[in-house]
Structures are given as structure tokens and as C-alpha cells.
């Protein structure tokens, strides 16, 4: 009997998994919340996306063809994954946050979790002002909507992702005042070799990054190393930022402050994996809080595989390689099979790239730029001072008393930051409801079940 493989996410990892699972003869079902496949990396719109932002388009076009052989559910919000009695995925299909979407239940023999990651933005005084967005938002709006948030943007944070973000803003018609990278020149030289952004053996990645760096040079955009945006100024909207040197621990260095005029800020301090589906499925996590996988990308739960950013932040090429391995293994294929050897080799190469991203890891000194009244939890407007009041309480008591992480985003935005500030794990990623579902939609499930029984 044909194995059915369900895949959560249609980004690079999910699509590569679908392609590989199909090649191994599986019946493949892909679910993604987007209107189009491609995930955040290929967040393209036929009419609205500037062609120059469509990186690796040939690869995408090839993977896109899997959509014809697999069953692809677009606009599918997976809100629950059960693995207790076989694999069962519950989703709602229809417009984002609609109130009358169609319920979909998928039973499968194997599951590939390729839910990706989202930006992590550290709090900065003033970061709730309109005009402050995440680096990923700048990228997504430019790609998906051809839109910009301001005329003059400071891009700040850490990691090579800042480069394509700055590039996209410029291509969408904005201007980038500066790119501010917290890692210092010395650290980057150590981490990446003498020629930053270039890596032997990862030609595609190096070429892509070199292209962005070239764009910055051409537009004469200043690139600052070892600096950070430590304050955002404005009355009702962004008017300027303070840029400041930070030491190797990301502690702001007094006396180095300067003001940069801008009307928008894009913040990106790395990525947070989207773990809730994997956690609900019962997958073990590493101490660094990624899904633990073996050589076959198999998780600790039987027949559940994971690939891409949920297993470690590595970028699109890593995700493609891991996805292919996961999909192939989920379909019952063996890693000795010649059809998957290319992906196994690519995965090894790309993991070398991923390791280098540690150069940009968040330094503990960043908390030095917070004020007591800086909002940490954006949903519930919880300040740092309020969190400090409950420093001695249990994490659960703290959460209920301050409401940090209890708001609409359920700690997706502030969770890791809150844990840093209270120096304790809060387990924000354990979410009983994986994505939005309305009470009426839930009620209809009961009525449907009830009817079946009659």
C-alpha cells in the first residue's frame, strides 16, 4: 500500500520533502497557511514581486511542479497535530483568520514538520512605535506586497539576513539609511574567514550574499559592524534612532551614541524556530531548543520527521537539503539510495554554513539598552520593571501575574526575551492551539462528529 506522507509547510524544506517523497513513491499531502507555496523564502506574488527579489527562481519553479503531483492545501491553517493514535492533522482551509473556513482532517503514515522560523527582534526602547518592524516584515512586505513601511529605514540586528532585507527595501523603492550589525569586524573575520560572506563549498550562498553586498556598495549604504540601535525616538511614529557601539557581549558602550534620522526601523536579531507543531506531536527538543533529528531527519516520535529551521537555523539551502532527506525517509526510502545521495552531501556542506551563523548569536549584554519602562511583551504591554517584580516567582506564576506572553501572539514575539530576562524557561512554545481557530469553527467540528454518529 502506498505510504501517505503529510508535510507541514511549503517553504524550501517542505517543498523539497514533497519532491523527494514523491520520487520515493509516496502519496504526498502538503499543508501551508500561505495563499501560494514557497514559504517566507519564496514569498512571491506574480504581479507584485520585483523579479530581482526572486532568488533561486529556477529551483523554485522546479519544486513548484511537485504541486501537480502532490495534494497541496494552500491557505490551510494547521491548528492541531495528534500522534497518540496514529498521525492526524487538523486544519482549516480558507482566507486567513476567516470565520467560516472548511475543516480538513488528514490521516497519514508519516509526517514531515517543516514549519520554519520567524524573526526574533530584541526589544529596544521605542520599539512599539509605528514604523518599527521586523527585518522579516520588511522583506515580506517588499516581496509579497511591493510595499515599504517608510522612506528612510535603518536596518539593524545581526546576521547575513540583514543584507537581503536591505536589498529588498531598496528594490521596493525605499532607501536604507544604514545597516547596523551587532557582531564586530573581528568576530566576523574569525567566524567567516578573511572574506566575509564568502564560504568555500557554498558557492550559491556566497554568490547570493556577495550580490546583496554589491547592492549596498552601489547604493553607498553604510554598513556598521559592532554597533546596535539602542533607542528609537519619535512622537507617535519613528523620527530617529540612537546607534551605539556594542562590545563583544553586545553591551552598549557609553559615549559612542550618535543619532540617525529615519522614519522606519527593521530589526532582526536572528530567528526563532516555529516549534509548536513539533512539540504537540511530542518531538524531543535539544537544550538549544531545536527539534532533535537523526541522520534520516527522524524525530524522537515514530514516523515523524523534521527539516529546515525547526531543526537548526541554517537558511534556505540547508532547508532544501534537509527537506529532501526528510521527505525521502518519510516515504520509506533508504539513505543509501543513490537518488538521495546528492541531498545528503549538500546537507553536510550547508551545515558548515549554519555553524558560522553562531558568529551572530545574541550577546547577553543587550539588556543594557533596556529602560525599566521598555515594553517587553507587546501584546499585553508588559514592561521590564513589571517582569522584575516577579523575578522570584515561579515562571507560571510570573506569567499569570504579569500576563507576559499570555496575549494574542501567545509569547511568539516575546517568549525568548522574557525567558532571558527572568533567567528561567517558561515553555512558551507549548501551545495547545497551533493557529487561529474561531469558536464557531470548533463548534462545527462537534456538530459534524455528532451527525456522523447518527
Amino acid at each position: 500500500m502506498t505510504r501517505r506522507v503529510a508535510i507541514l509547510g511549503a517553504g524550501p524544506a517542505g517543498l523539497a520533502a514533497a519532491e523527494a517523497a514523491l520520487s520515493a513513491g509516496a502519496d504526498v499531502v502538503v499543508l501551508d497557511e500561505g495563499e501560494r507555496i514557497g514559504g517566507q523564502y519564496w514569498r512571491h506574488h506574480e504581479q507584485l514581486t520585483d523579479r530581482r527579489m526572486q532568488h533561486q527562481h529556477a529551483r523554485f519553479a522546479r519544486l513548484g511542479r511537485v504541486a501537480e503531483a502532490a495534494t497541496v492545501h494552500r491557505e490551510a491553517s494547521v491548528w492541531r497535530v495528534d500522534t497518540a493514535h496514529g498521525i492526524r492533522v487538523h486544519a482549516l482551509v480558507g482566507p486567513a483568520d476567516g470565520s467560516d473556513r472548511e475543516a480538513l482532517t488528514i490521516d497519514a503514515d508519516a509526517l514531515v514538520i517543516a514549519t520554519g522560523a520567524h524573526d526574533r527582534a530584541l526589544p529596544v526602547p521605542g520599539w512599539t512605535l509605528p514604523g518599527v518592524i521586523t527585518a522579516g516584515a520588511a522583506q515580506a512586505l517588499a516581496k509579497r506586497d511591493g510595499a515599504i513601511v517608510g522612506e528612510r529605514t535603518v536596518v539593524a540586528g545581526s546576521g547575513p539576513f540583514l543584507l537581503p532585507v536591505a536589498d529588498s527595501i531598496a528594490l521596493a523603492g525605499g532607501s536604507v539609511a544604514e545597516v547596523v550589525e551587532a557582531a564586530g569586524v573581528a568576530a566576523i573575520a574569525r567566524g567567516w574567514g578573511r572574506a566575509p560572506w564568502q564560504l568555500a563549498g557554498v558557492a550559491g550562498k556566497a554568490g547570493e550574499l556577495a550580490q546583496y553586498a554589491g547592492g549596498l556598495l552601489r547604493r553607498r549604504t553604510p554598513f556598521r559592524f559592532g554597533q546596535a540601535v539602542t533607542r528609537i525616538h519619535g512622537q507617535g511614529h519613528v523620527e530617529a534612532v540612537t546607534v551605539q557601539h556594542v562590545d563583544a557581549q553586545w553591551r552598549p558602550v557609553a559615549g559612542t551614541e550618535r543619532t540617525v534620522t529615519c522614519d522606519s526601523v527593521a530589526l532582526g536579531h536572528g530567528f526563532t524556530p516555529r516549534l509548536e507543531a513539533a512539540i504537540q506531536a511530542g518531538c524531543d527538543l535539544s537544550p538549544e531548543r531545536f527539534v532533535v533529528v537523526d541522520d534520516r531527519q527522524a524525530t524522537s516520535v515514530a514516523s515523524v520527521f523534521a527539516a529546515g529551521e525547526v531543526t537548526g537555523i541554517g537558511g534556505a539551502d540547508t532547508a532544501l537539503a534537509e527537506g529532501a532527506v526528510a521527505g525521502f525517509a518519510a516515504a520509506g526510502g533508504s539513505l543509501d539510495d543513490r537518488r538521495i545521495s546528492g541531498a545528503v552531501r549538500a546537507r553536510k556542506r550547508m551545515h558548515a554554513f549554519a555553524t558560522r551563523l553562531a558568529t551572530h548569536a545574541i550577546g547577553p549584554g543587550w539588556t543594557g539598552w533596556l529602560d525599566e519602562d521598555t515594553i517587553i511583551c507587546r501584546c499585553e504591554s508588559v514592561t521590564r520593571a513589571r517582569l522584575s517584580e516577579y523575578a522570584a516567582a515561579s515562571s507560571r506564576a510570573m506569567r499569570l501575574a504579569t500576563r507576559a506572553g499570555l496575549g494574542a501572539c501567545q509569547g511568539r514575539t516575546c517568549g525568548r526575551t522574557v525567558e532571558t530576562l527572568i533567567a528561567a524557561d517558561v515553555d512558551f512554545d507549548r501551545r495547545p492551539v497551533l493557529s487561529s481557530i474561531r469558536i464557531g469553527e470548533l463548534a462545527r467540528l462537534h456538530h459534524a462528529e455528532h451527525k456522523e454518529q447518527e
Binding site: 497557511e33 495563499e35 517566507q40 506574488h45 506574480e46 504581479q47 507584485l48 482566507p95 486567513a96 483568520d97 476567516g98 470565520s99 520567524h118 524573526d119 527582534a121 512599539t128 512605535l129 509605528p130 514604523g131 518599527v132 518592524i133 521586523t134 522579516g136 516584515a137 520588511a138 522583506q139 515580506a140 512586505l141 509579497r144 506586497d145 511591493g146 510595499a147 515599504i148 513601511v149 517608510g150 507617535g236 511614529h237 507587546r378 501584546c379 504591554s381 496575549g407 494574542a408 501572539c409 511568539r412 514575539t413 487561529s436
Partner: protein
């Protein structure tokens, strides 16, 4: 091709296929929600943070960055 929505009683035109957030930003709006008395708009842009939610055709809590604008959509601010 263009799409027209109503926001705050005003008609706003965007490009066909844009999200509600894209249409609002294109019209120069940067915030459309009140949180603890302060203006908020788009933040994460990929449906994670819930900062950009609006009421669309009477249904609350719709993420403006995720919902594609449809001709005639009536979009209202939310506050809490």
C-alpha cells in the same frame, strides 16, 4: 488592476492581490490599531505577532498582513 477597501470610512485603493496591510501602507497609513492607548500597525509582517489585527466585514481579529484585500472589504480599527 486595483482593489478598493473602506477604512475608517474612507475609500482606499491598492493593487490587486495586496494584503490589507499592503493596501494601508501603500496609502500612507502606518498604524491602525490601539494597544494600551498607543498606535500600532504592522510589526512581524508574517502573521506571528498579531499586532496588525483589524476587523474585516464585521469579523474581529483578522491579521492585516495575512488577509488579501478584496474589493469592497470594510476594514475597521481595533482597540484594547
Amino acid at each position: 488592476m486595483s482593489v478598493r477597501i473602506r477604512f475608517d470610512g474612507e475609500e482606499i485603493a491598492g493593487r490587486d492581490g495586496q494584503t490589507i496591510a499592503g493596501v494601508l501602507l501603500g496609502a500612507g497609513r502606518r498604524s491602525w490599531r490601539l494597544a494600551g492607548g498607543a498606535e500600532r500597525g504592522v510589526f512581524c509582517g508574517i502573521g506571528v505577532c498579531q499586532d496588525c489585527v483589524v476587523t474585516v466585514n464585521g469579523i474581529e481579529n483578522v491579521r492585516a498582513c495575512q488577509r488579501t484585500a478584496l474589493e469592497g472589504d470594510v476594514v475597521e480599527r481595533e482597540a484594547r
